[in-house]
């Protein structure tokens, strides 16, 4: 083992400068690959979530107008209830649903309240337990709660959590007993219910859950009026034959904009496909350059090893074993810098572009892509080195 490592180290320390150049090529190109891969993966994952949700023909999204006096910051009960009441009174609207964020820091997590319609329409990914069912959405003494993965060490499915919510009018803190019915999948997409009024899209409603973000979701079935901030995207269940009437009423009032979720979903799909296509073309061009530069350089460097390989051969190494050392050297020389720079560049991308969160899938895909370069370079090296006989190399060495 020790001797094997020594031989491997001897292979690695040959051509130090060329190996450093390969490492630099990897670091720089991994950054380019990460910048292209992160949005592609995010889009693919978001689409999967959207496709999984119960968005039907009769579900529409209302995006409120930011320019109104009712800005998201003032979106507390009274203002918000005015809008909701207005929408609910439109002929053809059967139900509305919103996401609320509890306005208290008494809990050591962010508490979200989902209206019944949201609970029934959106189904987030659960790793343990289950999502809300119809029976959970009736007023209960014990409220069902779903928590994020990072709270798993403190609570499990079936355990109780006592949360605190301020009463809207008296501001008195009320304690509510909840029972954990499910734990969200680690790094899944969370439905935050925020919508961009100028350019609404379904994917805006979802964001990848940050690994450190502690959140809990309860259905909005409290028996008192709580103080919370409502998100600006409202989903509406309606009679689709009266869509034009709803559209006219909301448009004329100037309070916001509506779109059917199905239409937005299709638009999103088209946009994602178009965006991903352009990203994929860019990615392919970058990848071909990477294969040519890193792969080609690795092959050239490996061919330089024939001198060392021949010296080792006459001293008692088999040709096959020598080739194995070269493959191992190629793999480690590419693998280690790829993993490290991929993790680092992911962190950098997420730091500068806050819409993205660290995604291990990007690291895995990057590593696999670079491993394919290492494999290709190794195969071509072996084909090249196998063509020769040690005696021919010996004449070159000599």
């Amino acid at each position: 083992m020790r001797k094997g490592l020594e031989i491997f180290y001897n292979f690695l320390k040959q051509d130090k400068l060329k190996n450093i150049i390969i490492i630099l090529q990897i670091i720089i190109s991994v950054f380019a690959v990460t910048f292209l891969l992160v949005p592609i993966i995010k889009n693919v994952e978001t689409m999967a979530i959207i496709n999984n949700s119960n968005i039907g023909e009769n579900t529409i999204l209302f995006s409120s107008n930011f320019n109104l006096l009712i800005s998201p910051k003032t979106y507390f009960n009274e203002n918000y209830n005015i809008i909701k009441k207005f929408i609910n009174n439109i002929d053809g609207v059967s139900e509305t649903g919103t996401v609320y964020l509890a306005s208290t820091n008494k809990n050591d997590f962010n508490l979200f309240l989902y209206d019944k319609l949201v609970c029934n329409t959106i189904k987030l990914q659960i790793q343990e337990g289950r999502w809300f069912e119809k029976s959970d959405l009736e007023s209960n003494k014990i409220i069902p709660i779903i928590i994020s993965d990072n709270m798993k060490s403190e609570y499990h499915v079936g355990s109780t959590i006592e949360i605190e919510m301020p009463e809207y009018k008296t501001e008195e803190m009320k304690k509510i007993k909840c029972i954990v019915i499910g734990i969200l999948k680690r790094g899944t997409y969370m439905y935050y219910g925020s919508s961009n009024h100028t350019d609404p899209s379904v994917s805006d409603l979802f964001s990848k859950l940050h690994l450190k973000e502690r959140i809990a979701i309860i259905p909005n079935i409290l028996d008192f009026e709580a103080e919370y901030a409502a998100k600006d995207g409202i989903i509406i269940n309606c009679d689709i034959s009266k869509l034009n009437n709803i559209y006219d009423k909301i448009n004329l009032s100037g309070i916001g904009k509506i779109n059917t979720l199905n239409m937005l979903k299709q638009n999103d799909s088209k946009n994602v496909i178009l965006y991903n296509e352009s990203q994929i073309y860019q990615f392919l061009i970058v990848y071909i350059f990477i294969i040519m530069s890193i792969g080609g350089y690795t092959i050239l460097t490996s061919l330089n090893y024939k001198r060392l390989l021949t010296i080792y051969y006459i001293c008692g190494l088999t040709w096959q074993k020598g080739l194995k050392y070269i493959i191992l050297k190629n793999i480690l020389l590419i693998l280690i810098p790829t993993i490290l720079s991929s993790i680092f560049s992911n962190i950098i991308v997420c730091y500068f572009k806050t819409i993205y969160t660290f995604n291990i899938k990007v690291v895995i895909i990057t590593v696999l892509l670079y491993m394919s370069i290492a494999a290709l370079a190794s195969v071509l090296t072996i084909i090249n080195l196998k063509k020769y006989k040690p005696s021919e190399f010996l004449k070159e060495v000599d």
Binding site: L308, Y313, G316, L317, S391, K395, V397
Partner: protein
């Protein structure tokens, strides 16, 4: 005791193709333990090819080759590698050393492939002292002169205490003075019981051996020079 026996040995390159080269044609050769043989021939006569076959580096096309009575033809690559490591030491014209490594690391290369756990320091010192390179042990090979490099190559060939030393034009890159010094080393090693096969085109050096062969157009002749 016969250490190497070649019977009707042929070596063709690119057999059956237009570019076929018949490097060795029906070689019959017997080398006993303790012999000091020289093989002389012009460039392209097949002397290096013969040496590579004897050194288990190249494979023969037909015929038989016995090394210490064992048929080489049926051996696996790992067995041949073991033979090269334990029984044979190589000395090449251009030394075949790793330039960036120290003298010591070059000498120890064959030990990387042997099962022996550690070579005694005393043995390394003995070999280096005998070859006059003890004070150079921690110096990079690229900083050495040609004569010094060839001594390092000889030290490397001796480290696993092989029975036979194969030298392919060992003085080809050296001046006359250094050539004779290297030859003296081979004579001394032969006196200590090592079998030496020296391939050269220098007749003066070849005369120092006690068995002489000439190779011409792939055919070997015992010579009286």
């Amino acid at each position: 005791m016969c250490i190497i026996e070649l019977k009707n040995l042929y070596k063709y390159y690119n057999k059956g193709k237009n570019t076929e080269v018949r490097a060795l044609k029906g070689i019959n050769l017997k080398i006993n333990k303790g012999d000091f043989c020289s093989i002389v021939g012009v460039s392209g006569s097949g002397k290096s090819t013969l040496l590579y076959i004897i050194g288990c580096i190249d494979k023969l096309t037909s015929g038989t080759f016995y090394f210490e009575g064992r048929d080489i033809n049926g051996m696996k690559d790992c067995e041949l590698a073991k033979l090269r490591n334990q029984k044979i030491g190589f000395v090449l014209q251009e030394f075949g050393l790793i330039e960036e490594e120290t003298v010591l690391n070059n000498i120890l290369v064959p030990t990387l492939f042997s099962k022996q756990k550690k070579i005694e320091e005393k043995r390394i010192e003995e070999i280096c002292e005998e070859l006059g390179i003890l004070e150079l042990i921690n110096i990079q090979v690229k900083k050495l002169s040609g004569g010094q490099r060839q001594r390092v190559a000889i030290a490397r060939s001796l480290i696993n205490n092989p029975d036979i030393i194969l030298a392919d034009e060992p003085t080809g890159s050296l001046d006359t003075e250094n050539s004779y010094k290297i030859l003296e080393i081979f004579e001394k090693l032969n006196e200590q019981g090592k079998t030496i096969i020296l391939v050269t085109h220098n007749m003066e050096l070849a005369r120092k051996a006690n068995k002489h062969f000439t190779i011409k157009d792939g055919i070997i002749y015992e010579a009286d020079i």
